[in-house]
Symmetry: D3
Amino acid sequence: MDAEFFATLMQQHRRGRRYPPSAEALAFANRLLFALFPEKQGECMNSVSELEAEFEALRAELRRILEPLKGELKQPPVTIARNFMGAVPGLFGVLLQDAQALLEGDPAARSEYEVIRTYPGFYAVALYRFAHELHRLNVPLLPRLITEHAHSRTGIDIHPGAVIGPQFCIDHGTGVVIGETTHIGTNVKIYQGVTLGALSVTKALASQKRHPTIEDNVVIYSGATILGGKTVIGQGSVIGGNVWITQSVPANSRVYYHGGDQVQPPLIEI
Amino acid sequence: MDAEFFATLMQQHRRGRRYPPSAEALAFANRLLFALFPEKQGECMNSVSELEAEFEALRAELRRILEPLKGELKQPPVTIARNFMGAVPGLFGVLLQDAQALLEGDPAARSEYEVIRTYPGFYAVALYRFAHELHRLNVPLLPRLITEHAHSRTGIDIHPGAVIGPQFCIDHGTGVVIGETTHIGTNVKIYQGVTLGALSVTKALASQKRHPTIEDNVVIYSGATILGGKTVIGQGSVIGGNVWITQSVPANSRVYYHGGDQVQPPLIEI
Amino acid sequence: MDAEFFATLMQQHRRGRRYPPSAEALAFANRLLFALFPEKQGECMNSVSELEAEFEALRAELRRILEPLKGELKQPPVTIARNFMGAVPGLFGVLLQDAQALLEGDPAARSEYEVIRTYPGFYAVALYRFAHELHRLNVPLLPRLITEHAHSRTGIDIHPGAVIGPQFCIDHGTGVVIGETTHIGTNVKIYQGVTLGALSVTKALASQKRHPTIEDNVVIYSGATILGGKTVIGQGSVIGGNVWITQSVPANSRVYYHGGDQVQPPLIEI
Amino acid sequence: MDAEFFATLMQQHRRGRRYPPSAEALAFANRLLFALFPEKQGECMNSVSELEAEFEALRAELRRILEPLKGELKQPPVTIARNFMGAVPGLFGVLLQDAQALLEGDPAARSEYEVIRTYPGFYAVALYRFAHELHRLNVPLLPRLITEHAHSRTGIDIHPGAVIGPQFCIDHGTGVVIGETTHIGTNVKIYQGVTLGALSVTKALASQKRHPTIEDNVVIYSGATILGGKTVIGQGSVIGGNVWITQSVPANSRVYYHGGDQVQPPLIEI
Amino acid sequence: MDAEFFATLMQQHRRGRRYPPSAEALAFANRLLFALFPEKQGECMNSVSELEAEFEALRAELRRILEPLKGELKQPPVTIARNFMGAVPGLFGVLLQDAQALLEGDPAARSEYEVIRTYPGFYAVALYRFAHELHRLNVPLLPRLITEHAHSRTGIDIHPGAVIGPQFCIDHGTGVVIGETTHIGTNVKIYQGVTLGALSVTKALASQKRHPTIEDNVVIYSGATILGGKTVIGQGSVIGGNVWITQSVPANSRVYYHGGDQVQPPLIEI
Amino acid sequence: MDAEFFATLMQQHRRGRRYPPSAEALAFANRLLFALFPEKQGECMNSVSELEAEFEALRAELRRILEPLKGELKQPPVTIARNFMGAVPGLFGVLLQDAQALLEGDPAARSEYEVIRTYPGFYAVALYRFAHELHRLNVPLLPRLITEHAHSRTGIDIHPGAVIGPQFCIDHGTGVVIGETTHIGTNVKIYQGVTLGALSVTKALASQKRHPTIEDNVVIYSGATILGGKTVIGQGSVIGGNVWITQSVPANSRVYYHGGDQVQPPLIEI
């Protein structure tokens, strides 16, 4: 290998270490999840004061993780950490609704305990909710680290910028993609392989709403693709599996290939 | 954070630790897999008596993992562990057939060794077969922990309740979903993104057969979706990629979009 | 369990340990990645001579990992290791182009740093490029171990045998499958769930080109399936989401379902 | 490095792997200790049947560890494992007496809980008692692996062959050496740096009693050295710090340098 | 194993888990040490605000670790944690003096960096100083866990209750024992195998001063034993190796066996 | 905590990271030990070329570890690494002699295998021999890191600067201290608690020989202390337990307290 290669590479290394290790951000997110849902690892606390101490430790830990990013933050780390932890009770309430929705929505689910402990959809949505709160507080990098960790473990890729209401239910989930400017209402249910994406992917559009809006009480079956920032799926609609939608549909629509019998006519058996 | 939040959260923690740690269940499943297929990690045993001792240790370990679940079991842990291990030779034979089918079915496969060591489809099916046996023995939680672990590593989501014959071959596999009441015959081959799911997902149907039946010698190409508890794919059929099926097809069908030339006419090049 | 089972199983164990542990191959691949892209873990080196020493250590480590495979190699391990490391500067240049393409292609990407550190598409392509180089040098098993590790972490399944040009960009990526004899040109962009596969999967075809050719500057949207060794997607084409293609399309095609308005007419809202 | 070196070294490597990994033996010993004394790591079991299952698992695990040593054992591994576990209730009773003696003997000890959890003397004696039982059953290597692990962690070196009665109390303990043929009675207490050793160390004496006998209720203060297979410290004796003894002393002796005032006259202050 | 054994053992297990895991206490102590002395692991912080955040996180972590012990504490965990962290700057100053004394006192020491990074005496004294502060705040168990961890790693056994002045220097250190009620002044230096112990070890004396007082500027050579709560080693004294002292010596004494020439006359060469 | 404390502490942190992590140096030393003595962990290599590759990898790894120290080295890292590895065959031969001497010298030793695998004396001497070679090559810090690691695990503290001949045998070993300028001949045997130290410990003497010379075929029993740079223990001498020597003794001496009967007359039984 010649000197030029090493000189080029040295430039990469000279930029130095600017960001906290991934492991710290992920450890924080998982520790918060375990504090809220002891089912996840079977460790329980014994008193309210232990819980209080754990949450104070989490707040202090978050502030510490944020310090090396200080130059890029809009508020001091100590403020961001306080604001984030202040939002946790609200997130907890929403996650309980998510778990309940998963239990009610899946005939195969045996108990809320099983849902919280084993469902990848619950894990991915929980980490998204933490990441989204950090994103709202304008924290760089960490939100994406957290959601990509969930993506790696579950195959569910939710951008931290998406806005998602309570009772959100993802079943199976592998291959789900939810883009940065997606809006999702209350009590929405989506299955594996659903894409909520952008119609056109050019950098020039980075500041616009590029992903769809899904209103309340919508169900989207596996493999459906819904694209575009102006596309609105009206409340109460049901989107069939594998459909491809790039224009809005009104409330209470049933959208399938060729009719409501859920059979695709172009199929030919030979 | 106010007192009400902590009081609510304390209720979560008070439920206590009722179930064995996930790590124990997964360690058991992987240890059993390594004992059957030393290729997986390159550790070999040197005598039949070492093998016998390892299987006795596995049986004792399983019984121990089951003890904390005793209140929810229909048989004593010691009986379940004995029955499970008694089924292992049968599972081993089936897994050898699975590996052979993967080798024969994939032109890119170089050897059975490579299949066993590197194919995610083999790993996911092996863990499913262990989990299904536990499910048959009415063990709660553990089967799902095991299959969700495989799901996380491979993107292949097989419910422990599904019934799957030998020579089962999943290639690539990311995004495969096989529902709880699916029946799959002998020598079936499926590709990435295939869903064998339910037509309607309401809790009321939890006790019914909601997922399809796939008869012997069927091939299902990538992205196909087959739904419904009464849907039967007749033996010897080939289901093309991305097709959407909600009604039964007779034996030896070839199901593609618009004809057997495997080209979808609605495509327009502009 | 009877004696016959243990006798059969003993045969599996008698084959002995022939291959290096997976952990060694993966540690090598990740260590090389971290040496090239310190962003990945935040560890930087301080001088060119540290870099040189690290690359010499990597070369020596690779030779050591190759030794147990010697009987199946076409060149001595020491030669293969030298040739592999000699190719690394070239791979580094290509990976920089890949990162740049990801940054430019995704409106949601904030910086090259974020792309390198968090994008699964970058990770999967980097490990594929290492594995492909080993594959070119006729190393058995290791290339597949490396790409399957990336597959497990990202849901992106690229066979080490595929030939892929620079500026390759995979976004989201879960469910992507790129087959063994695929050829991909420069500046190609693909999304989640895209399959570049074989039309017919029979062992007899193992030595033929079974997967498609994608020319320069092509974009393939999510869920598209392109099959067949003679299928060529002409340069500059755009392939719409979920389309199914088994025949070549000329340069600069726009292929969607039923027209360029990106709406699928067969959808019926009821 | 020349070829001769590698040829010589290859002979070392050709001997192959004959023995179980150290980690397995130590994991067994620590797991048994934790099952008996949950204080050690704070994990408790909830029912007698969980305990029974844990002990059955320990027995099976021990048998498995013993299998690779089979050629050197005088009984089948299954018999040794059963006999070892059969001795555990007795060992447990003795260890409770040891813990009680430590608590009573050390003014600084606050509770039996603290003794079991933090005292190195308790840990070293517990592992010795397990190792001694294996030694009695003629198991090679494992007893020494276990006592050397305790030696490494505590600085207390007890040969597995030593015979030691209940209520044995080692305080502080660093530097204690207790030789292979030592006999120690009931309620003996020794301090850091005590050596119970051999007068002459020649291989020819390997089959003889080379180390001393310490009768009941003896106290031996720090740094004392007692040597010789015929040396008997009579019951109820107190051996002062740093004394050097190579001949027997009668019961109830008080042995110090130059008198019972515990001051060494040869000291001169200048 | 009979039922009685399991019933007895069940009682041990029923006491439940009352105390924090050892790993948490040790992680806290080591994290604090690394924050004060980055040499220990080579990780540096980049700004005062990172340091402040780390210390706030340490305080919160300590409070959390203390919560399960609350019933046995004399002050609320939050108060103890605040008081402990308030003492850290003072401890840091003292530890800097300890390191300087080690550097000056050992001809083999190359730099303060080397002393801090590699000297077991520095590690053991640092952990003792943390543990002593917790002991002063009446925290149960944790101080002993911390000093026994240092004991295990260094062979240096300092009871958390001992009171030790600055510029304290332990060289080599294996076998050093410093009892609970020892008082040590400023600039004291001790070598391996030194015992500062009690004359009589009966539980009745638990509340009395049982261990010696060492005044300022004393040196105690290897293997010396100094016993008794009323024994005072006057300032500026030098205690020779292996001497045994149970009575006070005046200031500036030189105590050796038989004269100041440091030769022990009773030795006979034959 | 006030600002002054953090400002002071920041100075510690500003010095930055100059040295390689301890873990790398220790991993290198242990990997070399395992390559030479596969008994240590039961992993064997299968061919001379695997051994050659392992040694080349070790050399490259050492060079890499040395790079960050370059400013303090007298030769380039690549030269030091080559010279170090060139010395390994010689060190191996000496270590085989050490192992043989331990086997012959300890009646309790069963086999050379057991000695290599379990004896702390063998481990400490092996790591000392590696560290001494690095010390001879003027490498800073690493030699001390390596010997202090051995000290922590075995209680045996050998300074890397000591010069020690072959057939060196340390039994039990806890508390052994061997100073920086000690010289030890061939076939010397020492027991636990032996100190080979300096008479006077002042920084001014750092460049002089401060520790004793032990000639060939000497035995030194437990707890003996031999001090001074001019002190020579003549060849063939036997030094009794706990003796204190600060002047030379001629060849073939037997040095005990008060006569050769190995009984210390000052003992009084009351």
